[in-house]
Symmetry: C2
Amino acid sequence: MDEVAQGVAFVDGRFRPVGEARISVLDMALTKGDSTYDVVHVWKGRFYRLDSHLDRFQASMNALRLDPGLTRRQIEDVLHECVSRAGLRDAYVSMTCTRGRTTVPGSRDIRNARNGFYAFAVPFVWITTPEQQEHGASLWISSRPRIAPESVDPAVKNYHWLDIQMAQFEAYDHDAQLVVLRDQSGGITEGAGYNIFAFVDDRWVTPKNGVLGGITRQSVIELLAEDGVALDEGHLSADAVLRATEVVVTSTAGGVMPVTEVNGRPVGSGRPGPHTRRLRDRYWARHGDDRWSTPVRPSRPMQLPEVFD
Amino acid sequence: MDEVAQGVAFVDGRFRPVGEARISVLDMALTKGDSTYDVVHVWKGRFYRLDSHLDRFQASMNALRLDPGLTRRQIEDVLHECVSRAGLRDAYVSMTCTRGRTTVPGSRDIRNARNGFYAFAVPFVWITTPEQQEHGASLWISSRPRIAPESVDPAVKNYHWLDIQMAQFEAYDHDAQLVVLRDQSGGITEGAGYNIFAFVDDRWVTPKNGVLGGITRQSVIELLAEDGVALDEGHLSADAVLRATEVVVTSTAGGVMPVTEVNGRPVGSGRPGPHTRRLRDRYWARHGDDRWSTPVRPSRPMQLPEVFD
């Protein structure tokens, strides 16, 4: 594979192969985890809900007092350009705004930081394997609590994942592929980049608080409403997940993915259920629909602000 | 200033000016905050408690199942070499082990990651200004809770600082330079890279749980024991800090630093007190003592494992 086919990044104001995309070890994105990001995907040459992702990215930057130094239109252009230069039809497209470094020598005052921005498009990422998408993945309910929203707001998409990474190791230790973490009161929150829905007592239940407002999660909520299927957005207990007849996780990196085993026990029949299959089909059908998707533009010359020269 | 005088880094197996030290935007140190680090300092050409820092760094890597691909002796050699190549007499010397990237194409399995290591030496960093060291800094007690130890263990030194960064903005908004965060039950924990001690009711009090086991904190504990001054390692309430007659913060980046204002109110007389001054003097006196410090070695050729070639 040539290096551009592995992905194209925009960093320091230039497009380059993603393998060459690097940032300073002194950027506070590294030394303080101080950044926010978003990930949108391209399917068959079309962005899915790019506007929703750009809205959320802007809200996250506002919450953290970050300024990428680019307009929304310029960010959008950069994302299109990364995908078209990489020649990808199905892509995982990431954008990050970092705190950067202080511009005053010797100063530790984070208000003096010049924020940074980078983005990249790589081949589409699947959280679960093709085999797991067909037959269902196994899920572990971790005993490690998710970082509390009062400390770091999960609705502001962030890279504070050490709790999730350690919970993921715990899941592997129990032969499970996926993991969800609980909140301080024991309610289920979210997993490693995915939200969770459980079908229990004739309705879907998904956690409302302490989670990222996933765009795929939002798509599922809309599809359920269109279908007139009942949904409780609220508290989801571990017991409910263990009693559920269907369970899915939802993510930009894979869409609606069936879970057929929780903590070593089969979910329902142990195979993806009818509600899950319908949701997944309807989710992917949206990707060719002009209401939800927009074609990737061909590569073209760009105007960028001076800071990126 | 020439670029080497701004610092020297070791990254990808090579020494280079710190301004050129960069890591991949795909390293999980960035995309998951999955890394651990330690910082040691050099004062007047001598490392202070390098062994204690290397012990802690190793314990942190063990806790996160990280392997830097270098022996302890090689890490030690790298740190000496960074300082000597930079020509620094007083230095802030950082070492980081990152999760890295999976070595299996398309795999998201973090067990397949090849971990990374980098280090750098830059001129000594002071958390407070010279004026604040002489007259005392102002501190804000934030209402934002520190990330709970059950989610991410603060004793394993990590870059999950968004809670601290947001609390730091809150401190600036209240015209304070320093900040400490509380735990879920309201007890004081730690600040932006520093521990806190308050002198109240004829003894020092410092939080025991939910904090990094700071090496400077440990030095202060030893100095108090040598002097026969009473210390409670346990719970420190906001009320106790507000009633204290002396308050200090402790960090590798500045040592023992006086705080003379808390939430806009003067601490004691509003000037650094006698206990604080004695602690600070005794802390710095240790830096020339062979029991606590070791001279930086001159630059020399190094043997490194093949992975770093």
